[in-house]
């Protein structure tokens, strides 16, 4: 299975808009949304069947049994995450606990135990096409592990699919690194602003660290043509294939609000996206 991952370093640049268009244009039979924190792809890729849902367990969380606790304070003193508080007794803050188990190991009376905790939901749609996504529980960590699960369930449900599109997560941290592993190529969507260039540089650096092949396109390029041109110059200088520019287009916003893809109508952004798609696929097949 060839996998194309769409990344941007930041949210709001048009990753999901691009992913939706790519899925439709390629008639991909497998795709995944790796933004487990704020997933949006399902809003545009309508599924008629119900998802097969499964619970995702992240790291377990410590629990202190106050009946047994002798208040020796060893757990609180040694918790590197400041997850243990003392008021009327010892309590673990589940939002801060990373489940490392130091407290459990140290407790002289066995009052602390690690309990599994649900950290999110995995959703798999499996009809003619396979669509895998997830939703991390509010305030949970371990999003990288959940991203790995999303990709895993897509792969195992769509073993025969030749091609898959993955909508990436924002940032450069753990979930992005998890989404990068094993993909054949990364398409970076960059925005022409001072912030956008900085974000792009950081995501390119991250992708390179994990030896991913990279292509770059710009979205809303005409909102600042000067910066858009310097993005292209940057790509040229760094030997990164530049695959096209998509203009800002109010029709695109309207299409998305109706739950459509920008390629569903004859818009300027839709046309430009087709060009980006064609060039990206050519590179990917090389």
């Amino acid at each position: 299975m060839k996998q194309l991952l769409i990344l941007s370093g930041k949210g709001g640049t048009g990753k999901t808009t691009m992913a939706t268009a790519f899925i439709k244009l390629s008639s991909a039979t497998a795709y995944a949304d790796c933004d487990v924190d704020a997933p949006n792809l399902h809003l545009l890729m309508h599924q008629s069947a119900k998802a097969i849902e499964s619970d995702y367990f992240g790291m377990p969380k410590a629990e202190i049994n106050s009946q047994i606790c002798v208040q020796c304070d060893l757990c609180r003193e040694n918790c590197r995450f400041d997850a243990i508080n003392f008021d009327d007794g010892y309590h673990v803050d589940p939002f801060v606990c990373e489940g490392c188990g130091v407290c459990e190991e140290l407790c002289p009376v066995g009052a602390v135990s690690l309990k599994p905790e649900k950290a999110g939901d995995l959703m798999l749609y499996k009809e003619d096409v396979v669509f895998s996504r997830a939703q991390l529980k509010m305030g949970s960590g371990t999003s990288g592990m959940l991203v790995t699960e999303v990709k895993k369930s897509m792969k195992s449900a769509a073993e025969d699919a030749e091609f898959a599109i993955i909508d990436g997560s924002p940032g450069i941290g753990c979930p992005v690194i998890a989404s990068l592993s094993g993909v054949d190529m990364v398409l970076i969507v960059a925005e022409p602003s001072i912030s956008g260039i900085r974000d792009m540089e950081r995501i390119i650096e991250t992708a390179r660290k994990f030896q991913a092949r990279i292509a770059v396109c710009t979205n809303k390029f005409d909102t600042n043509i000067e910066i858009a041109e310097s993005i292209e110059a940057f790509c040229k200088k760094n030997n990164l294939p530049f695959v096209g520019r998509v203009p800002f287009d109010l029709e695109a916003v309207e299409a998305i609000n109706k739950g459509n893809s920008i390629i569903d109508s004859d818009s300027t952004s839709g046309f430009a996206t087709r060009v980006v798609y064609k060039r990206t696929m050519e590179l990917l097949s090389k």
Binding site: K10, A38, I194, S195
Partner: protein
């Protein structure tokens, strides 16, 4: 606002909605303010403020190191580590820095005292001034997985300075965002007028409700057509603090890395009003829920 010390967190379910625009301009318009950029993966606030008199210091975490002469290969550290950051391969203990959570358990429980800890730099804190705004940014090194230790460190600055602190949160609603809003007195949720915008607003709305924080919404990039985010606010009875219209002038100022209130009288008024609105809300909160 003289003498009042408030912490305002600016968040949105997603990047690109205008968090940094709102946070930067609010901090710039308030006098004697502190701006803290908690989006340590992609910090952009400093690109606008271009702070001067920069001071930088490294942020590090503790990573285990093994003294091979003392290690007997008992593997108790490997068995203990919940993150699989240690492995004993070919009669040698290996440490995988990237996945280590620095809990300290392995060195604490090594029966031979063969493990100790070293400092590993994961990012930098940058502290500078832009006019009368103190600008603090945390910048995570590329290739690192978690910025939480950096966020913890930079939030300490919120207690060191006077008057208003504006916290520019990371996107989403995961652990890093929680860390950023934990001590905030008020939360501003920024929302885009799209289907995505509503979905993401819904998530941060749940988050601030869960943490019992007073909050209000700023609707950004508003256009003539229907605004799903505004409809959501009306339906849920959410306080809308202000509306920023989609505007090419603002887009240009912003994409060129300039601060709107310092460039345009119009935006000076827009954010001045927003600041007043937020201050009123915070004061109201302290009266109702002291």
């Amino acid at each position: 606002m003289e003498g009042t010390k408030i912490k305002i967190a600016v968040l949105s379910g997603k990047g690109g909605t205008g968090k940094t625009l709102v946070a930067v301009n609010l901090a710039a318009i308030a006098k004697n303010s502190v701006y803290i950029d908690c989006d340590v993966e992609e910090p952009n606030g400093h690109l606008f403020f271009k702070p001067e008199q920069l001071k930088r210091h490294d942020i590090s975490v503790k990573i285990p190191v093994v003294d091979e002469k003392l290690c007997t290969g008992c593997r108790s550290c490997v068995a203990f580590c919940k993150f699989n950051a240690l492995a004993y391969i070919n009669h040698k203990l290996m440490v995988f820095d990237e996945i280590c959570h620095s809990c300290g358990g392995c060195s604490l429980f090594c029966p031979e005292k063969a493990l100790s800890e070293r400092e590993k730099v994961i990012g930098v804190v940058q502290n500078g001034k832009s006019e009368d705004v103190r600008v603090i940014s945390g910048i995570m090194n590329v290739g690192e997985t978690s910025g939480v230790p950096i966020i913890k460190e930079i939030l300490k600055y919120a207690n060191e300075y006077q008057d208003i602190t504006v916290i520019d949160c990371p996107p989403g609603s995961a652990c890093t965002v929680m860390e950023s809003i934990k001590d905030a007195d008020y939360c501003i949720l920024v929302a885009e007028p799209t289907l995505f915008g509503v979905h993401n607003l819904n998530m941060v709305h749940d988050l601030v409700t869960l943490f019992n924080k007073p909050y209000g919404v700023v609707l950004n990039k508003c256009v003539q057509s229907e605004n799903p985010a505004e409809t959501y606010c009306t339906e849920k009875n959410i306080n809308v603090l202000g509306k920023i219209l989609f505007d090419n002038e603002l887009g240009t100022i912003n994409s060129n890395g300039l601060i709107a209130i310092r460039q345009s009288d119009k935006y000076f008024d827009v954010f001045n009003q927003l600041l007043h609105k937020v201050s009123e809300e915070v004061q109201h909160e302290t009266v109702v829920n002291p």
